[in-house]
């Protein structure tokens, strides 16, 4: 009797094991190709991507695409953790978004499909912006999903009420920094209606602020470059963050909060979303990523405009985006490449562009008037968007993502140092010189990919 129980338990275990095994074997048996597409983003981006994938399935009936969506987080650490787990357990998807700062390491370790032959075969190389293709040692392993950059939105009513003239949209002839600051002071008022500099102005009780800058790593570059500075050299071995130009750029931004009192304190993400403040009329200007247009464009009551970024010494623009890759482990490279191409073609996924989320990577959408009209002429993109934003991509520089250990250099050294400038504990000169010294001694400057 007891033997029978033991036998029964053993059989149960065997059945269990058998089921697990069968489950793993099932996928290969159909002639339909199944791809998995991984991506992050806001719920709105999720919906837009799902729609694009559905379009791909409709055009390719033999291919089924399974979306693998991870809600977006700003610094991407959750996405990166997930990606690591997938890589270690050999369960990477076929195609998808990839965090730019991790791109070099994965590419060097052979996780991505080399795309050069496919690009040449399909004649795609010259059809796209030169910044789009991501190369490691001359070989292409991925492409930016979109062209994204920094923009400056403003609330038209707030500017009118404060008596500020309509800001220029030509990125080459924008306001200089001093002009910009003087207008910000006109916009900023405390609860008694006084401006910064007026006697009795209460900086602790401000009802309306001049500007809010998004303060995270990529968003610093345009200001730093505009002042002629830089952070870490592209060789991954030189620290430039203690250059006088860099220091001045950071001090300028910090002074907006601590000296001129025209910008709300933003540390640790504790502030009310600047988008909300802009819509509420509590904010004049908002300097942020161009993708926020998706959110702003959906607010039909908000009358907002776009201005060219203020210039410290020369105009500057950043090219930033998530990366799109085909994973080397895919069993269907042809189909996976077809999906990647589909996601890169604005004609196939126009909603992603007309909604304001992305700007195209395809050249003709910047040069050919009929293509330009396709994504810019709608009630989402404000007047002047082409001159202030689209045209500024001509001078855009890629976010330096191929520097080794760049993530840790930012996380352990630069971010804390810059934070101490924002909260006024240290001047930019003290904080950045100290950080530069630490970075030089950290052993993290190991070149670039």
């Amino acid at each position: 009797m007891k033997n029978r129980v033991v036998l029964f338990i053993s059989i149960l275990i065997l059945i269990g094991a058998g089921l697990c095994f069968a489950n793993g074997q099932k996928a290969a048996s159909s002639d339909q190709v199944k791809l998995t597409y991984i991506y992050w983003g806001s719920p709105a981006e999720d919906a837009a991507v799902k729609q694009a994938l559905a379009g791909f399935e409709a055009a390719n009936p033999t291919i089924k695409v399974e979306p693998m969506y991870l809600p977006g987080d700003l610094d991407g650490s959750t996405y990166n953790a997930k990606m690591k787990a997938l890589a270690v357990s050999n369960t990477l998807p076929d195609v998808g978004y990839f965090r730019p700062e991790e791109f070099g390491n994965y590419a060097e370790n052979g996780y991505f499909l080399k795309l050069d032959d496919l690009i040449a075969r399909d004649g795609m190389g010259d059809a796209y912006l030169p910044q789009t293709w991501l190369k490691i040692k001359g070989d292409t392993y991925g492409a930016y999903s979109a062209a994204e950059c920094q923009v400056m939105w403003y609330n038209k009513k707030v500017l009118r009420d404060a008596g500020v003239p309509t800001p220029p949209t030509d990125y080459k002839n924008a306001w200089n920094w001093d002009q910009f600051v003087s207008y910000l002071k006109m916009i900023t008022i405390d609860t008694k209606g006084k401006h910064p500099g007026d006697s009795g102005f209460n900086g602790k009780d401000i009802a309306r602020y001049g500007v809010s800058y998004d303060l995270w790593s990529a968003m610093y570059y345009p200001s730093v470059w505009s002042n002629g500075g830089d952070i870490i050299g592209l060789d991954g071995k030189t620290v430039l963050v203690d250059k006088p130009e860099t220091i001045e750029a950071f001090q300028n931004l910090a002074d907006l909060m601590n000296v001129h009192q025209v910008m709300p304190h933003v540390t640790g993400g504790t502030n009310i979303s600047p988008t909300t403040m802009l819509a509420n009329g509590q904010l004049g200007f908002y300097v942020t990523g161009q993708w926020t247009l998706l959110e702003l464009g959906a607010m039909k009551d908000l009358d907002f405009g776009v201005a060219a970024l203020p210039i410290m010494k020369k105009p500057a623009q950043l090219y930033v985006s998530g990366v799109n890759v085909v994973f080397n482990s895919t069993k269907h490279p042809e189909e996976a490449w077809a999906l990647q191409k589909w996601m890169m073609d604005p004609a196939k996924t126009l909603d992603l562009y007309t909604s304001g989320l992305w700007m195209p990577t395809k050249k003709s959408y910047y040069t050919d008037p009929s293509d330009i009209a396709k994504w810019l002429e709608n009630d989402v993109h404000p007047e002047g968007f082409k001159e202030a934003v689209v045209d500024s991509m001509a001078i855009s520089i890629n976010e330096p993502i191929k520097i080794k250990n760049i993530n840790q250099i930012w996380g352990d050294y630069l971010n804390p140092a810059i934070e101490s400038i924002w909260i006024g504990d240290k001047t930019a000169s003290q904080a950045l010189k100290e950080a530069a010294g630490k970075i030089r001694n950290s052993g993290l400057l190991q070149g670039s990919y």
């Binding site: 990166n80 690591k84 009780d205 540390t267 993400g269 009310i272 993530n407 909260i423 950290s442």
Partner: protein
């Protein structure tokens, strides 16, 4: 009664014993012993999870103590939080439990209210506190301002961020209160009456009856809470990302950053082992010193 004879019967019993505990053994091996072993092995390697692991001996351990200034800072932050949180939590929870144990109207409602925060997922409560602590628009500063005080930079200042997290942690003491409450209800009424007969006041009841009889439960709560505080992660991860200027960078957050942000699995595992040993030492110290103040029923006193 004679002991069962050794033989077939005893063997069968042993066999059954093993069969019945085998799921537990299997679980412990697969999900505790094996990962711990693997993590110790990994702590001796340089491994970014993408390329092959290189064996480097105890280099990771040496490096975190000699080269990584944030490592010591994260330990300091975590210990500060623990030392601040645990005693405050214990005192306030005990006071709460004493009040909830008294015979008042609507006792059930109060018990529910005090326990409620424990039911809220920590991510949700973190976001909520983020709003409460907001410098410009937060509710706390709004009241301070309304009462004529100045605004306080709660989680935006290097000095206040750990005390702010402590306040938030104290708000969430439902579990501790419930355990204290259970202990209080186990105190026999005749002892309390004896104090009454001797003419003692409430303070005497508390000092000579409640506190000694509750001491094993205080010990339990103290150890569990210390371990919880040492593992502080979600609040700084969500609310401050370790900032400002790394002043809320907790030990576990630093481990997480190294493992998943910087691709330094070996270093992160070495830190985890240091945390394990640190936690064990602190628990041992509490245990050892507890003999002097703990009261066990059955002891001759």
């Amino acid at each position: 009664m004679s002991l069962p004879k050794k033989g077939l019967n005893a063997k069968r019993q042993t066999l059954w014993g093993w069969i019945l505990i085998s799921p537990l053994c299997l679980g412990l091996t697969l999900w505790v012993a094996f990962p711990m072993g693997l993590s110790f092995y990994t702590s001796l390697t340089k491994w970014d999870m993408l390329s092959k692991a290189q064996f480097v001996g105890f280099q990771n351990y040496i490096k975190i103590f000699t080269e990584d200034e944030l490592f010591l800072k994260s330990i300091r932050n975590t210990l500060y939080f623990t030392v601040l949180s645990v005693p405050l939590q214990m005192i306030i929870a005990l006071m709460g439990a004493l009040l909830l144990n008294s015979q008042v109207k609507g006792k059930g409602v109060f018990r529910t209210i005090f326990y409620l925060p424990s039911l809220i997922p920590i991510v949700v409560s973190s976001i909520m506190w983020l709003w409460l602590f907001n410098y410009q628009y937060g509710l706390i500063n709004y009241f301070l301002h309304f009462l004529g005080g100045g605004r306080v930079k709660w989680i935006d200042s290097t000095q206040m961020v750990i005390p702010s997290l402590t306040i938030m942690n104290i708000w969430n003491i439902g579990n501790v209160i419930i355990i204290f409450l259970a202990g209080l209800q186990g105190i026999p009424n005749d002892l309390m009456e004896a104090v009454d007969i001797d003419g003692g006041r409430y303070w005497h009841k508390f000092r000579f009856v409640i506190l000694p009889l509750l001491s094993p439960i205080i010990l339990y709560n103290m150890i569990i809470n210390s371990i919880k505080c040492l593992q502080l992660f979600v609040e700084p991860y969500i609310m401050t990302n370790g900032g400002p200027v790394n002043s809320s960078l907790s030990f576990v957050l630093h481990i997480y950053n190294n493992a998943f942000k910087y691709g330094k699995m070996g270093t992160a595992n070495a830190m985890s082992w240091v945390l394990f040993i640190l936690t064990m030492c602190i628990s041992l110290i509490i245990f050892k010193t507890s003999k002097q103040w703990i009261f066990c029923e059955g002891d001759k006193q």
